[in-house]
Amino acid sequence: MGKYIAKRLLASLAVMAIVSFMAFAALELIPGNAALIAAGTEGSASSVASIASGLGLDRGFMERVLIYYKGLLSFDFGVSSYFGESVSTLIRQRIGVTFSLAFLSVLLAFFVSVTLGSAAALGRGRFLDAFSRSVVQVFSSIPSFWLSLLFLILFSSVLHWVNVGDYVPPSVSLKGYLSSIIIPVAVLAIGETGPLLRLVRASMIRARNEDWYRIGKVRGISRIRLVMAYALRYALPGPLTLAGSELAKLLGGTAIVESVFALPGLGRLFLTAVEMRDIPLVEGIVIFVSFLVVLMNLATDLILFISNPSMRKAGGIRL
């Protein structure tokens, strides 16, 4: 068991090292350097030089790699050239919005998928199964930005339920906060429901075909008890892993929804950074998000590993 955990930890560290190096190297490739971009078209040669030395660009490549990794270890990504603030402060201010969007939408999608997926796989009706299949197909084909626009039209200009652009932080008013993020959460949840529902349905069908399920049915255990007490426990690890990795991915994938609904999250910060060619900020967010992704996947794996005796015996899953 210890061996598996150590192996997973090492692999995650390796991925993090590769990711951070790729991000660093990729942004080195930018034509013209970061100082020229930051100084803008009006910048004089001396201001370019001073920005360059501020960014450490006058040092050699290896030296900069070392400085960069030293900064990473202390959560220091440098200073944003557009905002003039430290990148880690900017990230810290905005991660809350993005995290609540991602978390709530995955939670919602998970509950919808488990309910609908189990009902579709184990219920008597053929209709429910056909319905859930169509839901999977349509939900995974809808572009999230279009759905955002449709919801905007429906909830804002037809029903007048929400006002776009007034984000209310939870510290000011919990009700205002919820009503400002509920629609974006719904948009994201619809995108997540496709793959989750597909997986829940497939695992539940596998559960249905197991001997213990048939025996339980023959012995007269009620269908509801059979599902709640046995089938779910058998079928949920897969969907839970997927939910974990989808949550991690969403932390970097909410840019569009944040931009349409004017939410001050990490995604919109990233769009601004790209638009303004703010290299330190781009680099910082990429690394922050990908580390989160790696750590979340690691956590999901370890939780599954520890909670599942058969997996512990087999020495872990290959992911």
Partner: protein
């Protein structure tokens, strides 16, 4: 089983009609998709403009037709590049010595760990806006999918007797890969290719929506929706036609991919009893 066949048929119909409509747009569109007519802007559907006109008075149907062509061709390009790179990476990872294969696997994991939109945005930061960087970004998001598929398929096949026979005959790595490993993988690769096109179109249109993909005056469906966004509260109809077109194309490819893999699965089960 019948239900699957119906959705497969729907998939074929949707993709073929999208392909035909966009192919026609090369030679003919009802109006020039770029010609403006300010006096007739924001029109609803009429016999003159079947889907109405946009904020510059351009014919929406014509723009959807040429926008679909852009969506399809750039998705095809991206998925082709992504598939070739991914297959190559998967082959190398599976066939090289254990240490190198481990490193390559970690690189594939790292690519997987990035949210696709993030990869795309980084690439746009490096290479600038435009159709080529965005196509490349989409391709990059396809790479890990294919390399992982190839990697696992090769590990499965390597255990087969005929591969061991070939090795004992002294066949080289390259020969085994090209003549013994690749052919049986082909059908699953084709399925994955089809299924990836839908995702590629979604990602490309998201980039265009953010203004980072194809640039005006060319049209793409994502860009049309990005323009419609400015009028979403005053002229909500503007956001409808291009969105439905996009949904229909992506849905078509997803249904097609699912149908193909269903057919393939049945074929495999049939062969092995």
């Amino acid at each position: 089983m019948k239900k699957h066949r119906i959705s497969f048929m729907i998939g074929i119909v949707l993709t073929v009609s999208a392909a035909v409509l966009s192919a026609v747009s090369i030679a003919f569109t009802p109006y020039d998709p770029e010609s403006m007519d300010i006096y007739n802007r924001f029109q609803g559907p009429s016999s003159e403009h079947l889907l109405g006109t946009d904020h510059f008075g351009r014919d929406i149907l014509s723009r959807i037709m040429s926008g679909s062509l852009v969506a399809l061709s750039s998705a095809l390009l991206s998925v082709t590049i992504g598939a070739v790179l991914g297959i190559a990476l998967g082959l190398v990872a599976a066939l090289s010595p254990k240490r190198i294969s481990g490193i390559l696997q970690r690189i594939i994991d790292a690519l997987m760990a990035f949210p696709t939109i993030l990869i795309a945005l980084v690439l746009v930061t490096i290479a600038g806006k435009g159709i080529l960087p965005s196509a490349l970004a989409v391709a990059l998001s396809i790479v890990p999918v294919f390399s992982r598929l190839v990697y696992t398929m090769i590990l499965e096949t390597m255990e087969k007797l005929y591969i061991r026979a070939a090795v004992s005959y002294g066949a080289g790595r390259f020969r085994i890969a090209a003549f013994h490993l690749f052919p049986p993988m082909l059908s699953r690769l084709v399925v994955q290719f089809t299924a990836s096109i839908g995702n590629a179109i979604l990602l490309e249109s998201s980039l265009s929506f953010l203004g980072l993909g194809i640039q005006p005056p060319s049209t793409s469906l994502g860009m049309m929706l990005s323009e419609a966004r400015g009028y979403v509260l005053t002229y909500p109809y503007q956001a409808i036609p291009a969105g439905i077109a996009l949904l229909v194309i992506v849905l078509g490819f997803n249904l097609l991919g699912d149908g193909l893999s269903e057919v393939l699965e049945r074929g495999r089960r049939g062969r092995h009893g």
